[in-house]
Amino acid sequence: MHATDALKEADRLMTVCNSCRYCEGLCAVFPAMEMRRAFTSGDLNYLANLCHACGGCYTDCQFSPPHEFNVNVPRTLATVRAQSYAHYAWPGALAVLFRRNGLFVALATAASVALFIFAFMGAGGAHFGEAVQGTGAFYRIMPHELIAWLFGGVFTFGLVALALSLRHFWRDIGDAAESPLAPRPLWQAIKDAGSLRYLDGGGVGCYNKDEKPDDNRRFYHHLTFYGFMLCFAATSVGALYHFLFEWEAPYPWWDLPVVLGTLGGLGLVVGPIGLLRAKRQRDPALLSEAGAGMDKAFTVMLLLTAVSGLLLLVLRATPAMNALLAIHLGIVFALFLSLPYGWFVHGLYRFAALVRYAQERARDA
């Protein structure tokens, strides 16, 4: 009935959990499970993406290993979750990228950085190695149109790929006739995702190395997520400045794009470092091998993006600027390129699952 061992194991576990239900107060996974008596693969992919891997149900479970029932929900759902990313990917042919994601990201980064260095040398070689200052400095090394076309292209492809993957997921996890855009459930899901409501182990925090919970993972994830959003906002404001007002970068430090970018960049340094450290300290029993590397690759890319961006800000008046700009743009390009085939999708699928959950709750009430 299920295509993979992980789905079969998830089915077994949900049957065990559904006959116990002690965890129903911990997060959304268990109440969602209780609405079903049998589980299709779509149901299991839904539940897996609803799980925030706080570890609460593992630490609280009287049947977790070494008990013979061997109930390890966080790890099993992490495996199903990681496999679901490849399963729903568009185009299907590129699903293989999930499997060797770390390698893909590394190669994409190296190639993108090289692309930008060569492009710089071709476009503005004369300036390479000199300090270039003042308005439009960036574009004297590399024309704005080229940057816009390159990034616009990869960004558009990413959006299309993500949207089609997401649609595939949405149709599989429930009633496809229901629009994901119904306002009330959507707003509920935005609140739940924005606060990482279900990463709190039912209120005390997340379980990492032992049965003592803390809230560090949520804190670092917030820094990472909101850091990312601030950087995204910085880029958007920059684009508005450029196209609407024809104000050219670089902007002074106190201007909005720089302030947003700096704050976001700081979040994207501290957050990913904290998450990587938390991951290293985590009880291996909670971790799945299926997603291993995928999340790390994405987290490291965010960190590299932020570090190169902040360095560029600090050193933009020095001869290092050209090289840093090339490296930074290369990293950002690689990040965009890998978005639909890497850990970034966890956010989208989890959000879609939260929307579905909010819809189910509304219907149930």
């Binding site: 049957t15 065990v16 559904n18 006959s19 116990c20 239900r21 002690y22 965890c23 129903e24 107060g25 911990l26 209780e34 008596r37 609460g56 149900c57 630490t59 609280d60 479970c61 009287q62 049947f63 070494p66 008990h67 013979e68 029932f69 039912g202 209120g203 005390v204 049965e211 003592k212």
Partner: protein
């Protein structure tokens, strides 16, 4: 043997709910406390690992409870399930203290969850631990350790140094050998003896070999036996226990809650001679849930089968093991190893006795049989829609009631009628004082918490003087 491993004011034997409440309360009263737990760390906490809720009196609805549950009502419920086999003074004390326990237990780090959707219909009387019994235990352990209580796992008490009603220390066996722990006061919170099949056989005869033990395999009654041998007064008899009918396919030990079956009221129950033996519709689940273990224990080979048809399949909680299914009653009998003719006759006889009524699984409805022995008083519907289903069930022993007699200060009483000097008891090892027979959900945890807190406080007080 090594020299004394530790010298403490209070040693608590057993690290379940009762033991931890005792340890925390003794520590908060200023005593140095050591908890010895026979199980390894994962299996710590005895049967508390498998519990989920606690029954406490309260005067009005709260965030977690849907309505008032007065002390009088609690006492009436206790009288009903025990049929009077309770020590009224201790029972009333426990119920009075339970009211305060709702808040005290939260102060120890335990969290309640908001009242439930209705799977158990206990939202008014019982408070549910967020995350279940093991979550509750984890919280108590964190608090105890933060307060400076020391816990030794894999540590089994093998001897108590007693002189009359005074215990000066205990000998323990640890993976690295034998040790002595010297203590000024002792709290025994080591559970019952349900995992000791030989002891169960002494009481029940060989049929106990067919019992399944729902909870921890570590409750072997060693401490209880020691106390009995050293002249502590006992209470209740060894056949009294909390026993329910659980899936016969469950493991011998530690299957816990997920082996429960709450579908008795929707079908009929037959023994291995294909005969019905009790009124399945006597009262609503979970009120009569706790009687079926004993009923099945009295059947030949201690096995029975719950039969129902397709119309009832989704009326009850999903279960761990799937039901056994067949297109006809005769084929179902074949799969169960029952006589097909006898089973068909029983089902036909039942069907013929069913009177028309309006089925309602939320109340005692008017669907019943007429002229049938034993009758089915409610929810009686013909078994006529294929496929037909069955669950095999066996007695699942949750905990035993034979224990040590205590006073209102949780101090043990000696067989000669005097009070023990420095010996206190809490939890299952003294549950029989309050719960002489029968069971109502969550009372085990109330006994553990209330008498644990008292025992810890009194033991610390004794150690100080």
């Amino acid at each position: 043997m090594d020299a004394t491993l530790a010298r403490v004011d209070v040693v608590v034997i057993g690290g379940g709910n009762a033991g931890l409440c005792a340890a925390i309360s003794a520590r908060r009263s200023g005593a140095s406390v050591l908890v010895v737990e026979a199980a390894p760390k994962f299996y710590r906490g005895g049967n508390t690992r498998h519990t989920r809720n606690m029954r406490c009196a309260h005067d009005s609805a709260t965030k977690i409870l849907s309505g008032p549950y007065t002390q009088d009502e609690f006492f009436e419920d206790l009288l009903r399930v025990t049929q009077g086999q309770t020590d009224e003074v201790l029972a009333r004390l426990m119920i009075r203290e339970s009211q305060d326990m709702l808040g005290w237990i939260v102060e120890q780090g335990v969290r309640w969850q908001p009242s439930l959707g209705g799977t158990l219909s206990l939202g008014r009387t019982n408070s549910f631990f967020l995350g279940g019994g093991r979550a509750m235990l984890n919280a108590l352990y964190l608090t105890a350790e933060r307060l400076g209580v020391e816990v030794l796992y894999d540590t089994e008490v093998v001897e108590m140094e007693m002189e009359g009603g005074r215990c000066s220390g205990v000998l323990v066996r640890r993976p690295d050998g034998m040790h002595r722990i010297s203590a000024k006061a002792v709290v025994a919170a080591a559970g019952g003896f349900e995992a000791n099949i030989d002891w169960l056989k002494e009481a029940w005869g060989p049929s106990a070999g067919n019992f399944l033990i729902r909870g921890t395999p570590y409750n072997r009654g060693t401490v209880l036996k020691m106390l009995m041998d050293k002249g502590v007064e006992t209470i209740r008899d060894p056949t009294q226990c909390h026993a329910v009918a659980i899936d016969a396919r469950a493991p011998k030990f530690d299957g816990g809650i997920i082996t429960r079956l709450d579908c008795v009221v929707f079908g009929i129950v037959v023994n291995n001679r294909a005969e019905r033996f009790y009124d399945e519709g006597e009262d609503i689940w979970p009120k009569r849930y706790a009687i079926w273990g004993r009923l099945v224990a009295q059947q030949p080979d201690q096995i029975a089968y719950i039969l129902f048809d397709a119309s009832s399949l989704e009326l009850f909680m999903p279960s761990l093991y799937p039901p056994i299914a067949a297109p006809t009653i005769a084929e179902l009998a074949g799969k169960l190893g029952l006589d097909a003719e006898a089973l068909t006759r029983t089902v036909e006889g039942f069907n013929a006795a069913v009177r028309p009524g309006t089925f309602d699984d939320k109340t005692l409805d008017d669907c019943r049989t007429e002229g049938l022995t034993p009758p089915k008083s409610h929810w009686a519907r013909k078994l006529q829609t294929a496929p037909y289903y069955a669950y095999p069930v066996r007695p699942g022993i949750t905990f035993t009631y034979l224990g040590v007699r205590v006073g209102a200060d949780a101090r043990m009483r000696m067989a000669d009628g005097t009070g023990a000097d420095n010996l206190f008891a809490a939890g299952e090892i003294m549950a029989g004082n309050v719960l002489g027979r029968g069971y109502a959900a969550g009372i085990g945890m109330t006994i553990g918490s209330v008498f644990g807190r008292i025992a810890g406080r009194e033991a610390a007080d004794h150690a100080r003087h």
